[in-house]
């Protein structure tokens, strides 16, 4: 009997051990493209969980739910999305979300940018006709071939302990292998600030980081207005100061999520990780960025003083839920000064305004009467497919500044630079102060 028990025990062990050592499958969504043009189909495959719903968008505003078929015997579902028979334009960007059972529809629109909400989503960005439609590369995951981790990392002889045991002494060298004009391993070419694909080549929203620049985020530098990290020098030659190489949040441009103490939309007190939510809207003829939320919080991790909503104590407009005051006083280094507001509702009145500058949170909703001084809506519909800018639309840092570099003219003295009265074009989007006139048109 004892022998029998031993044999049975060993038998159980034999069965259980291999099962216990089977590697858990990662929470992965596979995506690929079949066909092209009007016959293009995007395929998605993932392990289905009860309550999963699939949505597609091109701009972050209009989401279309896609029917999910029954799972196979292993629990996987495979979707074929042909865009209602229309196919997909080469070069266009398509965004999918798999929303799990905990996702609440009330989060749609402008209230989705917190880490808690993001945790209920699996996001897949598909670049149609790009050769590799999803990020099945360094920015996605190498589950299919983990040997390729060794392309950039090594476990025992890294060149830099702070840089995740990279084989290179600089992460920038890794990034430049694909993201520069001469080497074209991606459509995002940062040296010249170009987005290049198919028949289209457009200037990127971030601008050039090294070519023909008059100012850029580069070198080791203190950030003007950095009250959070006094005296700290940031390595702006390191791409991973701002970006993640392997994004867990699938943020826009793989920007890092940041700790924020205010709601990314209303500016009200709030503590959470805030992802940058934006969509590179691309119909195959160009790429325009639809900023949804989080971009100014990202900048303010270093340039906190310029984030006016942080210290904004002005009265809240009950209609908009946003601070009423247009400008605000900041305290920094014992000095008080006024700053042009960002992340505040543009509840201006009077004639309709137009601008070519990027505004956060534009939506396709009916506009109010721009000539009615009591109506806080106003319209700026230039250069963005007639999108209406509403009272919840806000200026952000990137409305006036690029994030990589600029080629514009018109240096100005900086009162915040490392050297007093040093001159710079300060990453501006237009020559001199063209941005003022682009909105205010005096």
């Amino acid at each position: 009997m004892k022998k029998l028990l031993w044999i049975f025990g060993l038998f159980l062990l034999t069965i259980c051990l291999p099962i216990s050592t089977v590697e858990a499958k990662p929470d992965l969504v596979e995506a690929w493209q079949e066909g092209s043009g009007t016959s293009a189909v995007v395929k998605l495959k993932w392990k289905f969980a009860t309550g999963d719903r699939l949505f597609r968008t091109f701009d972050g505003d209009n989401w279309t739910q896609i029917t999910i078929p029954a799972a196979n015997s292993e629990g996987f579902v495979e979707i074929s999305d042909n865009h209602n028979g229309k196919g997909f334009v080469n070069g266009s960007n398509v965004f999918y979300e798999i929303r799990d059972v905990n996702y609440q529809d009330a989060w749609n629109g402008t209230k989705r940018a917190t880490d808690a909400i993001q945790a209920t989503l699996k996001t897949v960005n598909v670049f149609i006709g790009s050769g590799s439609v999803t990020a099945d590369n360094a920015h996605g995951n190498y589950v299919k071939n983990t040997n390729t981790c060794a392309s950039c990392h090594r476990s025992h002889k890294g060149q830099s302990k702070k840089n995740q045991l990279l084989t290179a002494s600089s992460d920038r060298a890794l990034c430049e292998t694909c993201h520069t004009t001469g080497q074209v391993g991606s459509k995002y070419l940062v040296d010249t600030g170009v987005v290049k694909y198919g028949n289209v080549s457009v200037n990127s929203s971030a601008g050039p980081i090294s070519h023909n620049i008059t100012s850029a985020h580069s070198g080791k530098a203190k950030a003007p207005g950095d009250s959070l990290n006094p005296g700290k020098e940031w390595d702006m030659d390191s791409c991973i100061t701002c970006h993640q190489a392997h994004p867990k949040d699938n943020n826009f441009r793989m920007l890092k999520s940041v700790n924020s103490t205010k709601d990314p939309i209303t500016g009200k007190p709030f503590t959470a990780q805030v992802p940058v939510e934006a969509y590179a809207v691309n119909d195959g003829t160009g790429e325009k960025i639809r900023y949804k939320s989080g971009i100014s919080q990202n900048c303010s991790q270093c340039h906190k003083v310029f984030d006016t909503t942080t210290n904004a104590e002005g009265p809240i407009d009950p209609k908009t839920g946003l601070p009423k005051n247009g400008t605000t006083i900041e305290d920094y280094d014992g000095e008080s000064f006024f700053v042009h507001p960002v992340d505040k509702g543009m509840n201006m009145h009077g004639p309709a305004l137009t601008t070519t500058l990027p505004i956060q949170n534009v939506q396709n909703i009916p506009s109010g009467n721009p000539n009615d001084p009591n109506d806080p809506y106003f319209i700026m519909n230039e250069n963005d497919n007639n999108k209406k800018y509403t009272r919840t639309s806000v200026l952000t840092c990137v409305t006036c500044h690029t994030s990589h570099g600029t080629t514009v003219k018109g240096e100005q003295s900086s009162s915040f630079g490392n050297t007093p009265n040093s001159k710079s074009t300060m990453l501006k989007r237009m020559d001199n102060l063209g941005m003022c006139q682009d909105c205010h048109k005096q």
């Binding site: 050769g131 590799s132 590369n137 060794a150 694909c178 991606s186 170009v194 028949n199």
Partner: protein
């Protein structure tokens, strides 16, 4: 009975040999490609560092981030300096001679790759969508190819095929064949990971049997085509439980009919039979002689292999035998 057996054996041998040669013909291979055991070069399982140039202290016109190289029939090396956006020319000993492409008519805006064909130095500009032709003295000759307003291409690596030129198009993920008037004759491939498809193809080389090798960079492989663009095979380095290539870029064929592939992210040179059989790998990351830091382009001349060692800001020259 014995005669019958003999006839069967002879017949079998004849059929086997016939099938063997038919397979060679179909695959556009020579008998030596299939019988590497007879090639003395197969005993060479490494390379030796000869010298490097372009980054010596005090050297005039130092290289910064060289990404491509071509060597002419006299052994002069034409190096694409991606940071300075010009072409620097060196004699066979690595002594700087002159540079071109920096201004005036021959201005290069955003050069990506370089090749020599029919006595012309060809420089591709992927984001401009054109190929500029220079003499070997660096004089601008003409724009060999330019994208139209409606049909834009991103030419990277180029290779001459008779009176045509092939280039890898990184925008549309295809191979493009043009005549020497710059007219597109044919295109091969489409975006994707399947056979005959590409993801950011980069460099091209052609063997003596006019088989076309394309580094299909973001798919981590080299694809082989016949001269009509028909897909023949894939070389990804995985035969014999070896690792798949991470990011193949520069490719060339050496004097011993071996395919050399520069795996940029692995900081390695990988040597293959033209059949795709892996031979050996060379290199590791570093800045010492023989080490590499993001190597990119490759060229061969005689028994020398030239590597554009990008982040070491130099060209390294290796010996591949006598």
């Amino acid at each position: 009975m014995k005669l019958k057996n003999l006839l069967i054996i002879l017949g079998t041998i004849t059929i086997s040999i016939t099938v063997f040669f038919i397979s060679l013909y179909v695959q556009k291979l020579s008998i030596f490609d299939r019988m590497p055991v007879f090639a003395i070069s197969r005993e060479i399982t490494s390379v030796d560092v000869l010298f490097s140039f372009g980054n010596a202290e005090g050297e005039d016109q130092q290289l910064k981030q060289p990404i491509a190289i071509a060597v002419d029939s006299e052994g002069k090396a034409y190096v694409l300096d991606s940071f300075h956006r010009d072409i620097k020319v060196y004699d066979p000993n690595g002594t700087f001679l002159f540079a071109f492409g920096k201004g005036g008519e021959d201005l290069l805006i955003a050069p990506g790759a370089i090749a020599i064909h029919n006595g012309l130095v060809l420089v591709s500009e992927p984001t401009i969508g054109r190929i500029q032709a220079f003499s070997t003295n660096g004089e601008f000759v003409r724009t060999l190819f330019a994208s139209s307003k409606t049909e834009k291409y991103s030419p990277v690596g180029m290779a001459g095929l008779d009176d045509h030129l092939l280039f890898a198009d990184a925008a549309r993920h295809q191979l493009v064949k043009i005549n020497l008037d710059g007219e597109v004759i044919a295109t091969y491939g489409s975006p994707g990971p399947k056979e005959g498809q590409f993801a950011y193809p980069q460099y091209i080389t052609i063997d003596q049997n006019e088989r076309i090798y394309v580094s299909d960079s973001n798919n981590g492989r080299v694809q082989v085509f016949d001269e009509e663009g028909k897909y023949l095979q894939t070389i990804d380095g995985t035969i014999g439980e070896k690792e798949k290539m991470a990011l193949p870029r520069g490719i060339a064929i050496d004097r011993y009919h071996r395919l050399i592939v520069v795996d940029t992210l692995a900081n390695q040179l990988r040597f293959f039979e033209l059949t795709g059989e892996p031979l050996f790998e060379y290199g590791e990351h570093g800045e010492d002689d023989g080490q590499l830091s993001f190597p990119n382009g490759v060229a061969t001349f005689g028994n020398k292999v030239y590597i554009a060692d990008r982040e070491n800001n130099r060209i390294q020259v290796f010996s591949i035998g006598n």
